[in-house]
Each structure stands twice: as structure tokens, then as C-alpha cells.
């Protein structure tokens, strides 16, 4: 399942959703893939992933010292260490995931990969994304498409 996270009226914040929409255009005929969009975090984010084998989350991320448009990949374990300090949408991700691991272990995907694109925090409503983030979105769409096409199980 490919899960785009973001808010479509908050500019660059929506990049995860835009990436998943484009992946759906390219890979929508694949019956082994599902595509979802989500504008919430915490427990609801984990709940959306329950019952899937493998999940790719695509989200924006705000962090100090990183270049806007930089693509990075995280595993859920890394969010234990960086817990709640960098990603507005994946905040409390580690705690929420741990809660469900204890309560519904059989429903947790065997693989969860998190792709992020670094954005600048903005305080204005808009549906437009900035150029570096748009470019990064295109690159990430290509990257994920290649990975999914090369390895249908897209696991590492």
C-alpha cells in the first residue's frame, strides 16, 4: 500500500499526497498495489496501515539544517530515536505503532518504509507547491516506480 500523507491546502506539506496521486496514475493497473491519501497523524495513521503486508509512507518533513527538496528514507525504528522532533505528520508515530504492535501484532505490516521530502515550514494556505519540492516529487515518483517495478514485493 502506498500512503501519501499531507494537507492539500498547505502547499509543500501536501507533497506526499501529490506523489501518491502520480504513482496511482503510473501504477494504478497493478492489482497488488493500493493507494491511499491521509491528512491526519498519530493513531489514525497507524489504523490506515493495519492488515497490509507492506506499506510505503510518503510525507513531507521539516527539519533543521536540511535542504528543501531533499529526499530521505526512514525506517519506523529511526523514529524512535528522532521521536516527535522532526516530522509533523509522523509525530507520535513510534508510540502509536508500538501501541498497535502490542495490541494487534498480527495486523502490523511486515515492512514499513517512510520516504520524506524536506520542506520549509510555511504559515500560509495555498494549493501550490514550491519549485524544489515539485522537482523532488517528480524524482521520488521515478524512484519509487523503479523500485516497485524492479521488485514487485518492494521490500528491502
Amino acid at each position: 500500500m502506498l500512503l501519501g500523507v499531507g494537507n492539500t491546502i498547505m502547499g509543500d506539506d501536501a507533497v506526499g499526497i501529490h506523489v501518491v496521486r502520480r504513482l496511482k496514475e503510473k501504477l494504478g493497473s497493478r492489482t497488488d498495489l493500493e493507494f491511499k491519501e491521509l491528512s491526519v497523524g498519530g493513531l489514525r495513521l497507524i489504523e490506515e496501515m493495519l492488515g497490509y503486508d507492506q506499506v510505503l509512507i510518503i510525507d513531507s518533513i521539516e527539519s533543521k539544517g536540511k535542504k528543501t527538496g531533499q529526499i530521505r528514507e526512514f525506517s519506523p525504528d529511526q523514529f524512535k530515536e528522532t521521536e516527535q522532533t522532526v516530522a509533523p505528520h509522523i509525530t507520535n508515530f513510534a508510540t502509536a505503532l508500538e501501541l498497535y504492535k502490542r495490541l494487534e501484532p498480527s495486523e502490523i505490516p511486515s515492512t514499513i518504509r517512510i520516504f520524506t521530502i524536506d520542506i520549509e515550514p510555511k504559515l500560509t494556505f495555498t494549493e501550490e507547491m514550491s519549485e524544489p519540492v515539485r522537482d523532488a516529487a517528480t524524482e521520488l515518483v521515478e524512484q519509487i516506480t523503479r523500485e516497485v517495478q524492479r521488485d514487485p514485493t518492494h521490500s528491502k
Binding site: Q84, T91, L103, F125
Partner: protein, 486 residues
């Protein structure tokens, strides 16, 4: 002067920042609560077809999109001068009851529960839901997420999606429900009533039977005397979906009762230069600064406020719990901020019972769920009780229904002044001679957390739970110490 900054506040949504200023003796001189605000929402909406607003406004908050969706839909009813059929109103209220169940459950168990289950001054590593589940048992944990999830399933049945419902349209809802769906909702509602009963029993066992906690709830650390605001039905009982806005004074006497469309006659907003968020206050009393009491126009709109303004609850089990709460605490209105947690559970019971009532309503599967609007649109105000307080949407359009003006007063914003006062009060009473241990700071935060403030929509920021950063400065504003809480 020594400054302590709690930034941002943990376990709640948005970017809150608490700054506590100490004097030479290490006692609290002042405390401020600040939040950033996103800009341009009104401009973003201008010129769009007004029917888009139930969808757009539900995206300004990742925590309670349902509240914005329903308030917005009700504003559209008024704007298009259309009265939805009875079944449509009931389906909206049914969805809304399910939403309250999911939201109150999350707040009580996930956000605030650990304070009581593990203890307010328990080591910080233990004050979280994982430790709390460890203490109350996995079975309870499974029940919490099951009942939360079932409530979201009900939202999906009515609203089309578990998150960001799309059912609300001017004049009604987009589709009726089937008998099969109704039966499912009824079964879920029966279980939710049992779950609310269990939750109130757990609160009894873990909090009320603990003398220290009961003392904490009723202590002057957490008592703030204000006016109260909430929606009531025609018998002055709590209602989340519709009714009149009632305001009572700090002695519990009715001060005002008005329709949503009259809100501007009663509510004004004060601006302070040091914070982006406005402070709503009662216009007829006036803004007297961040002070409590009858002469200050500050009011609260919270679960406790809703119970304080009402003469009772509209369902039997919730009414019994309402009576028990006021009997135990001995006064009405109750000013004890921490009693908000108890009030939230009384409301959980009401929401569950109301869900059950509506699922058994003979009209609920009636296919007539829409009155098609025919009048020209102009202006409309919609109101609901969001879990965090009274939520008002006010729109103006041209005759083609294109948005000219949008004004929102959201749940948490109503409480902004009271939250600031509660934090200051708790800090003043808890921090003495510079002792700012982690446990004490958590107890200061508890004053904040009781409001379940969600600055995601108050400031239009996104849902996010940020770490706690405590900066302690000396009188020259140099950082003496930085504490970071994951």
C-alpha cells in the same frame, strides 16, 4: 528574572509554548502561553463555490475534521435558506455522536489518562499510553482501540470515509442508510454504552477512590472561576449538534441564551501583541485582561462548561452520572479544571446513548435525506459543539454562492484566555523557590491538557505532537538549563 519555557507542550496537537517567568526568589511572576497562527485562510476561501467549504474547512484540522464538516454544512443550510428533512438531521447527529465517542475516548485514554493511571509525578518515561496499558492490561487496551475504531466505522457508514466525511450537503446528507447498516450501528452503539460504563468505573477506581487525586482535582491549583458556554436543547440539556448557545455566570446563573446567528452580539475578540491567537470574550462584560471572576468577560467552552451551562443530560445513564458528578464535587458550576476529564466521560456516555437512540429511531432509514435548495444564497452561520468547545462557522457569499467572507471561532480559541490563566495559576501554586522538577512541570502542563486543546485548528496548524522543551533562563535571559522531553 528566571524564565522557564515549556515549548512545545507535549501530547497535544500543534505548537504550543509556555513561558514561565520567575522572580529573584524563584517564585512565579508571570506566565504566558503562545501559539503561532497560519495566515490567509479567509483569502484562500474567497471566490470559491461555498459548497466546497465543508470539505476545505475539514482540512484545517487533522484532529476533528468531522466537527468542521458538520458546522460548515449547517452554515450552508442557513446560507441557502433550506431546512433538511428530519432523517438528514438525525443522520448528521448520529455521525456526530460517533465522532464524539472516538474523540473523547482518545483524549481520556491516550492523552490524559497516563497522568492519572501512572500518577502526575511518575517518571516521565512512564507517563505515556504504553506504560498505562501495561498497568491496566492489554485487554483494556484492545477494548479502547476497538471502541475507537468501531466509532470511526460508523462515521464511514454515514460520511463515506473514516476520516474527512463527505456526506454533508446544504439541505441534508448525500445518502440514506440501509437497514443492514442501521443494525450494525445499533450493535456498535450497545457496545459503546458498555464501554462508557466501563470508562466511568475505571475513573472511579483509579481517580475518585484515590484521595490524593480527588484532592488534586478540587484543589485551588486547578480552579478558575469564569463564565461558561455551551449548546443546549429546548429543555436546557446538553446537545452537541444543535440548539441555542447558553452562557452562565461564575455563580451558575443564566447570563445569555442566543442563536448561532446572533453570536457577534455576544462574542468579541481581543488581540494581544505577544500572541497570534485572539482571545474571545463576552462582549457585554468586556475584556478586563487575563483575570477570572464575574467582572471579566472570559468564558470557557469545554466538556465541563457544557455540563455547567446545562440543567441536565438528555439520556438516562448520562443524567445519572451528571447528578453524581455535581453531588460529589458539591457545587455547580464546578470551576475545577481537572474535573473536565470527568465531564468528558459523562459526555462519552451521552454520546454512546444518543448513538443508540438514533440507531433505533423509526425514521433513521427513511430515504428522504435531502431538501434541494432553491433560494438564493447570501449568509449563514452554523454552530456545533466540537469536543473542545463551541465551534462557529460564518460565511457570506454573492448571489451565485461564491465566497465573499469567512469567519470561524473554533473550540480551543474560546478557551485561549482561560488556558493562559489556568497555566499561570498552576505555575504560581506549584513552583516555589525555583523548584521546577519534571513532575512539577508536568503538573503545570496538566492544567493545559485538561482542555484537550487542539491548536491544529485554532491556529490552523497541522496535527503534530511535538517534544517538550524547557528552557530556564536567569534574570538576564541567559539560558541556565535546557530540558528536553521526547
Amino acid at each position: 528574572m528566571k524564565t522557564i519555557t515549556i515549548n512545545p507542550v507535549t501530547r497535544l496537537e500543534g505548537h504550543g509554548k509556555i513561558s514561565i517567568f520567575l522572580n529573584e526568589e524563584g517564585n512565579v511572576e508571570n506566565a504566558y502561553f503562545q501559539v503561532p497562527e497560519l495566515r490567509g485562510f479567509e483569502k484562500f476561501c474567497e471566490g470559491r463555490p461555498v459548497e466546497e467549504l465543508p470539505d476545505i474547512t475539514s482540512r484545517i484540522c487533522g484532529v476533528c475534521p468531522e466537527a468542521h464538516h458538520i458546522a460548515s454544512t449547517k452554515a450552508l443550510d442557513r446560507l441557502f435558506h433550506v431546512d433538511p428533512p428530519p432523517t438528514a438531521k438525525k443522520l448528521r447527529e448520529l455521525l456526530y455522536s460517533a465522532f464524539f465517542i472516538a474523540d473523547h475516548t482518545t483524549h481520556f485514554y491516550i492523552l490524559s489518562g497516563p497522568d492519572f493511571i501512572m500518577g502526575p509525578t511518575a517518571p516521565k518515561a512512564e507517563r505515556n499510553i504504553l506504560s498505562a496499558i501495561g498497568k491496566v492490561g492489554l485487554e483494556v487496551g484492545t477494548s479502547i482501540i476497538k471502541h475507537r475504531s468501531d466509532a470511526l466505522d460508523v462515521i464511514a457508514m454515514i460520511g463515506g470515509k473514516r476520516i474527512h466525511p463527505t456526506c454533508g450537503v446544504p439541505g441534508g446528507v448525500s445518502k440514506p442508510i440501509t437497514e443492514i447498516e442501521r443494525a450494525k450501528i445499533e450493535a456498535i452503539a450497545e457496545s459503546e454504552v458498555e464501554f462508557a460504563t466501563f470508562s466511568l468505573k475505571l475513573f472511579d477506581d483509579m481517580v475518585l477512590h484515590n484521595k490524593d487525586y480527588l484532592n488534586l482535582i478540587t484543589s485551588d491549583i486547578y480552579a478558575t472561576e469564569t463564565y461558561y458556554m455551551g449548546l443546549v436543547d429546548d429543555k436546557n440539556r446538553v446537545n452537541f449538534y444543535d440548539g441555542k448557545i447558553r452562557v452562565v455566570d461564575p455563580q451558575g446563573k443564566e447570563f445569555a441564551k442566543f442563536s448561532a446567528s446572533e453570536y457577534q452580539q455576544h462574542i468579541a475578540e481581543h488581540v494581544e501583541p505577544w500572541t497570534y491567537l485572539k482571545y474571545p470574550y463576552l462582549k457585554k462584560i468586556g475584556w478586563k485582561g487575563l483575570v477570572s471572576g464575574k467582572d471579566s468577560g472570559i468564558y470557557r467552552a469545554t466538556p465541563l462548561a457544557r455540563l455547567n451551562v446545562a440543567d441536565g443530560m438528555a439520556t438516562p445513564l448520562a443524567q445519572a452520572e451528571y447528578e453524581r458528578m455535581y453531588k460529589t464535587l458539591g457545587t455547580k458550576p464546578v470551576h475545577a479544571t481537572l474535573a473536565t476529564h470527568w465531564a468528558r466521560l459523562v459526555e462519552l456516555m451521552y454520546a454512546a446513548e444518543r448513538l443508540l437512540e438514533l440507531s433505533r429511531d423509526s425514521e433513521i432509514t427513511n430515504p428522504n435525506v435531502r431538501t434541494i435548495p432553491t433560494a438564493k444564497p447570501d449568509e449563514g452561520v452554523g454552530v456545533v459543539e466540537a469536543p473542545r468547545g463551541t465551534l462557529i462557522h460564518h460565511y457570506k457569499t454573492d448571489q451565485k454562492g461564491m465566497v465573499k467572507n469567512v469567519n470561524l471561532i473554533v473550540g480551543t480559541t474560546n478557551n485561549h484566555a482561560a488556558i493562559s490563566m489556568s497555566i499561570k495559576q498552576a505555575a504560581e501554586r506549584l513552583i516555589k523557590k525555583g523548584d521546577v522538577s519534571d513532575g512539577i512541570l508536568n503538573m503545570v502542563e496538566m492544567a493545559f491538557r485538561a482542555y484537550d486543546p487542539c491548536y491544529a485548528c485554532a491556529t490552523h496548524t497541522l496535527p503534530g505532537q511535538m517534544p517538550l522543551e524547557v528552557n530556564i533562563y536567569n534574570k538576564d535571559r541567559r539560558v541556565l538549563q535546557t530540558l528536553r522531553r521526547p
